[in-house]
């Protein structure tokens, strides 16, 4: 049974410290701003002695003890009048407070663009993330120093893409656009033995954005790994990747054919979605 809630039980639950503790460290401006949070004495609303509390439980008469307290009390008075004495963007911060909510690039784990983040990890070999990041920086650097791409109208980029001469100055967009443009929409999923005669039933499945990008970039990496490299040294691999990215945007890359092939297969097999055997398995 819960204890009865009345005034006396509430008073018993209170622990009052009537004496001032030993002097702590001087409250800093932040502490003052918090409204005397480090004042060690508890404060109760003033009440008259008619409540018949025992004298030991009566709070001591509170006097401002220091200039900080005085300042804080003045601020409280200002608050009472409806003014705001504390502007946290000004008070105690050299460069002000950041605006909330924090933009995603301020977060350690999301500081890079989503596409860049994903693709850097796809570039990574043997767990060497820092090397992959350096490679990615070199790829972006190559993209912004190479001449603007000559777009191929038969291999259109995503709708809403900026004109070609805008791309080199925004290499992140350039890379993302290339990858999103060749990304396939579907993949084929094989259901074993459902097509009759031991053959698997190929059913097109839609891909999520991350999956699409992954597939597209793995195709690009396939092409890159088959290409001979021109230079030597640490820029060798990133420059090959970047050349392939430019080839994709210019419509010269064989990745486009691969995408087309997958889409053809997808449209050819879309009837299999209605197959009775896979009902409930998707």
């Amino acid at each position: 049974m819960p204890p009865r809630l009345n005034f006396w039980s509430a008073c018993r639950a209170l622990s009052l410290q009537t004496r001032v503790f030993a002097q702590g460290p001087q409250p800093g401006p932040a502490a003052v701003a918090r409204g005397l949070a480090d004042n060690t004495t508890s404060r109760l609303p003033p009440h008259d002695n008619s409540s018949a509390l025992p004298p030991s439980m009566l709070p001591m008469n509170q006097q401002p003890t220091s200039s900080e307290n005085e300042a804080a009390l003045n601020q409280l008075r200002l608050i009472e009048y409806g003014l705001n004495p504390l502007d946290p963007a000004v008070e105690g911060h050299k460069y002000g407070l950041p605006e909330l909510p924090l933009p995603t690039e301020k977060h350690t784990k999301h500081r890079y663009d989503a596409v860049i983040h994903q693709i850097t990890r796809l570039l990574m070999r043997d767990g060497k993330l820092a090397k992959a990041q350096r490679d990615m920086a070199m790829i972006l650097n190559y993209l912004r120093t190479s001449p603007p791409p000559r777009l191929d109208p038969s291999k259109p980029l995503l709708p809403g893409a900026p004109p070609a001469h805008h791309l080199p100055l925004d290499p992140v967009l350039y890379l993302g656009l290339a990858i999103d443009s060749v990304a396939p929409l579907v993949k084929m999923r094989g259901f074993k033995g459902l097509a009759g005669g031991g053959k698997s039933l190929e059913v097109p499945m839609p891909l999520r954005a991350r999956q699409r990008r992954r597939t597209a970039f793995l195709w690009i990496l396939d092409v890159v790994n088959r290409k001979p490299s021109k230079g030597s040294g640490r820029t060798m691999f990133p420059h090959r990747v970047a050349e392939e990215i430019v080839a994709v945007v210019e419509g010269r890359s064989s990745v486009w054919d691969r995408r087309l092939q997958v889409h053809k297969l997808g449209t050819a097999n879309r009837a299999n979605l209605m197959n009775a055997n896979i009902k409930g398995k998707l």
Partner: protein, 487 residues
């Protein structure tokens, strides 16, 4: 090419869509696409099964004997293999402009007095075209520097730059030689300081002889031969010297054409009478065999006292490599000291103060931090010179000079080199540190105006990059702001 599928979606011609709305060139009837159906269970179109051209009648799908299945997959034709040196040339090529970058309107070209003018401190200034050609001919640009990002090459005029240019100017005014070693931490801009010194020299019509990589002289990668009638034996490096001569010729064409020989040079195979332009003298070397005598003749002409000679700048990058025992061997298979290589000796003598330049000039050497062998004598000597400078400065400021301790030799260490110590006994040391925030801001404004830094340049950003770069180390600032994944 006409794709049976739309490129952006999975749209395919079917009865529901009017033909006119489809972006295709093939007639509708020719497209071999089946109408939508739910009856087929065969996912593969027939054409694909017969794609390899073999009849499928007698082969069964299933297990087949496959010989050599563990063989490596054959890599396709990789085309022509690169020629010797081609890959290195690709790696070392230098691009000085980026057409994508936005031209910076307030960028002004360097004039002859600009680098020595304190008013230009913390300003970014462009290199004029002819200066670019001169610097390129003497290989002052390095592939690791970020020249290829901006519309035209530009340099930040730092406090140290103005200091160095003024020292050079003072030395020439008094017809003395400035002997100076530029040192500092990694990527603080030591090579760039040498480049700026060279730019100052070229703009003021000095003769500049620059050795871009000292390691090429001592790592035994270029030919060498003993010089006859020398005791102790000295060695010349004919191929390198020929290359150096050609670089000198291309970079200093104007000055050398205006300077004339005063002495006859009977030792040369080609007759060079007095009053010939030095350019013609430098042209006399056509093959490596003649290179060293020609270079010697050119050097003796340039240092002839009493004639009207331009000031000279000798500069080298990577000093540690020529302050050690080289990788070359003598006929007795002993290692040759770097200072026994004639070209290095010439430079070391000049740095040590043994050569009197007729119109004054400067000998500037820069240390390197990444590619540098351990040279205890050089490190000690530079630390000592630095401490002595600090002492002199303390004395000038009325402080106690003894508070600065001059490092001493370790008595139990044998690896010191007396010849190196003798060379570095009286050089000045210029330590390059990070830039201050004003300079950092000027640089970042230039980056942002070029479109390479996509951020607002305010106090916060500048402080952020400056701090990330270890108190404004320039190379680190570039890494933090330009060579990053966050653009």
């Amino acid at each position: 090419m006409s794709a049976p599928n739309c490129l952006r979606c999975l749209l395919r011609p079917s009865a529901g869509i009017p033909v006119s709305s489809l972006p295709r060139s093939t007639p509708f009837a020719l497209v071999r696409a089946a109408p939508f159906t739910t009856t087929t269970a065969n996912p593969r179109p027939k054409k694909e099964a017969q794609a390899d051209g073999k009849p499928k009648n007698h082969t069964r799908a299933g297990k087949k004997l496959k010989l050599g299945k563990f063989k490596k997959e054959k890599v396709g034709d990789r085309g022509r293999p690169p020629l010797p040196g081609e890959r290195k040339a690709y790696r070392k090529r230098i691009t000085l402009s980026n057409d994508n970058a936005i031209p910076v309107p307030w960028l002004t070209d360097l004039g002859s007095a600009d680098l020595a003018n304190p008013a230009n401190m913390a300003r970014v200034m462009a290199l004029p075209v002819e200066l670019q050609d001169q610097l390129r001919a003497s290989e002052a640009f390095k592939p690791t520097q970020c020249w290829g990002m901006f519309r035209k090459p530009a340099v930040l005029v730092r406090k140290e730059t103005v200091d160095l240019a003024n020292r050079m100017q003072n030395a020439v005014d008094k017809r003395q030689t400035l002997r100076l070693v530029v040192t500092g931490d990694k990527v603080t801009g030591k090579s760039m300081m040498v480049l700026q010194a060279m730019a100052h020299a070229y703009l003021n019509n000095w003769v500049v002889i620059h050795i871009p990589e000292a390691q090429e002289l001592t790592t035994a990668c270029t030919e060498y031969a003993p010089i006859p009638n020398t005791d102790p034996v000295q060695y010349m490096q004919p191929v390198y010297v020929l290359k150096l001569l050609q670089a000198i010729k291309r970079a200093n064409e104007n000055v050398l054409a205006r300077t004339y020989t005063v002495n006859p040079h009977p030792e040369l195979s080609q007759s060079v009478p007095p009053n010939t332009p030095l350019l013609a003298l430098a042209n006399a070397a056509k093959e490596p065999d003649a290179a060293w005598p020609v270079f010697q003749a050119l050097w003796s002409e340039l240092t002839t006292q009493g004639a009207n000679r331009p000031p000279i700048l000798l500069s080298v990058d990577g000093l540690a490599h020529i302050m050690k025992i080289s990788d070359y061997r003598s006929p007795a298979f002993d290692l040759i000291h770097s200072h026994d290589l004639a070209l290095v000796r010439l430079f070391a003598d000049a740095l040590g103060g043994a050569v009197q330049l007729p119109s004054g000039g400067a000998v500037i050497a820069a240390t390197a931090r990444n590619n540098a062998p351990r040279t205890p004598s050089m490190e000690l000597a530079l630390a000592q010179r630095e401490a002595e400078q600090a002492r002199a400065e303390a004395q000038a400021n009325g402080l106690d000079p003894n508070a600065v301790e001059v490092p001493q030799k370790d008595p139990f260490f044998r690896g010191y080199d007396d010849r190196v110590e003798a060379v570095l006994r009286s050089v000045q040391v210029l330590r390059v540190r990070g830039v201050d925030k004003l300079e950092a801001r000027a640089l970042m404004e230039y980056w942002a105006a070029s479109g390479m830094l996509r951020a607002t340049v305010d106090e916060k950003t500048v402080t952020e990059k400056w701090t990330l770069a270890g108190s404004g180390v320039l190379g680190e600032m570039e890494r933090a702001a330009l060579l990053t994944m966050r653009i």
